[in-house]
Amino acid sequence: MTDVASPNADPLAPWPDDVVWRPVSGKLILVEQVRLAALAGTAVVAGAVLWTFFDGLWGWAAAAVAVLWAARAAVVVRSVRSWGYAERPDDLLVRHGLLVRRLSIVPYARMQFVDVSAGPLERSLGLATVELHTAAAASDARIPGLPGPEAARLRDRLSALGETHAEGL
């Protein structure tokens, strides 16, 4: 169902003229693929357990898992490429998503704290996730797959900007 054609290229990169969109690291593709494989592996194990109860379904379940995995694995590359962020003077822009496309504009002044996190897999590849929290739970400013130094730079810059812009609610 995923439609590649978006002729104006608008939704994924609005304001191409005055905003410099930065991509996330390509290594995130690997992380996502491994994660996906782990998920598929879990599904296979679950299927194997089920198989001991219902023999007939086993083949179908395996096929379904395989198909889903293949489909998703093919999309992951583009999905990772769809992540992008931009630092404007007053706010941070984050965009991502292929099927459902999202763009968040989060003013630095609204930042409450910055999270930098990295799972074992991400860490082994030198990646980290930076997440900006505001008072609104719905604010969605998460940037995964940043190279370590870039994540640190972004964190420092965000917290510095947050301090200068700081306000209450």
Partner: protein, 501 residues
Amino acid sequence: MNPGGDPGRSGSPAPSAISTPPDAAHPAGPAHRPPADGASPPHDGPGPDFRPPAGGVGGPVADGAGEGARKAAAVEGRRRLHPLTPLLKGAKFLFAAVAAISWQGYAQLGTLVFLALVGVLLVLGVGLSAVSWLVTGFHVVGRELRVYEGLVWRRTRAIPLERVQAVDVVRPLLARMTGVAELRLEVIGAAKTEAPLAYLGVEEAHALRARLLAGAGHAPAHDPAAPAAGPERPFHVVPNQRVLVANLLSSPVLLLPVALAVTLLPVLFDPPAWTAIGVASMATALLGVVLPPVRRVLNDWDFRIFVDPSGVRLTHGLLDTRSRTVPAHRALAVAVVRPLLWRPLKWWRAKLDVAGVGAEAGEQGVRGGVLVPVADRATVRTVAGRVIDGLDIDALPLRPVPAVARWVSPLAYRRRAFGWTESVVVARDGWLTERLIVARLARVQSVRVVQGPIQRRLGLADVHVDTAGSIHVTARDRAVAEAYASAATLAELARAARTAT
């Protein structure tokens, strides 16, 4: 906001002089009882004996530190809660304990053991509460409210008055029977109600509320007319019969027969053993079904709306009387709603988000943020205009969605509209229940544009404007170009509005 406002409130030496005793008093745990200074004034006056002039600040310290501390304490003594507090809290504890034992426990234990257990628990509860009452104190220091509590783990909380969003005076049933009240503070950034001061004398609670609000810069300082709920005339009183009818016409009540059937049918088809346990569990299930609407009616009973310079004050409730003040400039968002069945009656309802109130909506239910339970449009309009300055819900620049939107939402698209002014952003939506949601731009946290796969085919996108509360402005199905343009504009306008305030 008003940094120079201190001198009038408390002598300038007071903050520094007072701030020492709490720290010094920490190790000296239960030193509050004033017998050390036997000369202290008689405490058995009719009412306000919980206001010991000096001894309350911590006897030994006053002995050691001498006159300075004593004098400062006289300026603003540390106060205790109402002396009935331990009894009331003990009773509460007892209820909780009995509920925990439950019917099943009762059946297993037998009446005698049960009663004995209740007695022990009662003594225990009252005793614990009494200790906690002894070590709990509060006072206003400069621009802070300080609350001291805890015997083993001592805790001192300083709540800056600037961060106080709203102050509620709540009177649960027990408190009403004994003439006391509970004070609840809504503080910016706190997930739940901060520092409930339970319990205070009613007059003291009102006086303290006025004082805290004055400190927060909402009301003319020390307005002696503010505390009393009596003399001023309410701007609007919601007729009780209207509350009743409105609740009867709400969907939860209309679904009540279904819910009752679901609860009762299994019982009829499969009669349980008519033991205490069976009856009690059925009664509990029934209560769960019937109680929420009843509670809503009780809660909205006698709903009065006062409009004064400090903002809007709401008092309501039949059993538990609540009085909430919504400072004029602290509202985040307002939702004006018309349920389907109210349409012929031309009634509307308004909800409100003030950060603290909205954040605790989860545990409080909808009523946490009720602004107007039911009223005609004109009244709602006026009240909403008071909560968000200069808002006129009938004169908002609403732009409809493009016609292609009917492929996504054939029924609601006619009502969908979105717009903004310099200070607010507004969205209208809803097919059966019409909703008009207004949020203050100065309080916007972030702006998002989201586009689903079908919307992409149609060239549409949703614009979300996030605020900290539970009311969200969502403009569905805007044309893509417009959605991105308005997101950019809104981010810009929100910044302008933010820096302006």
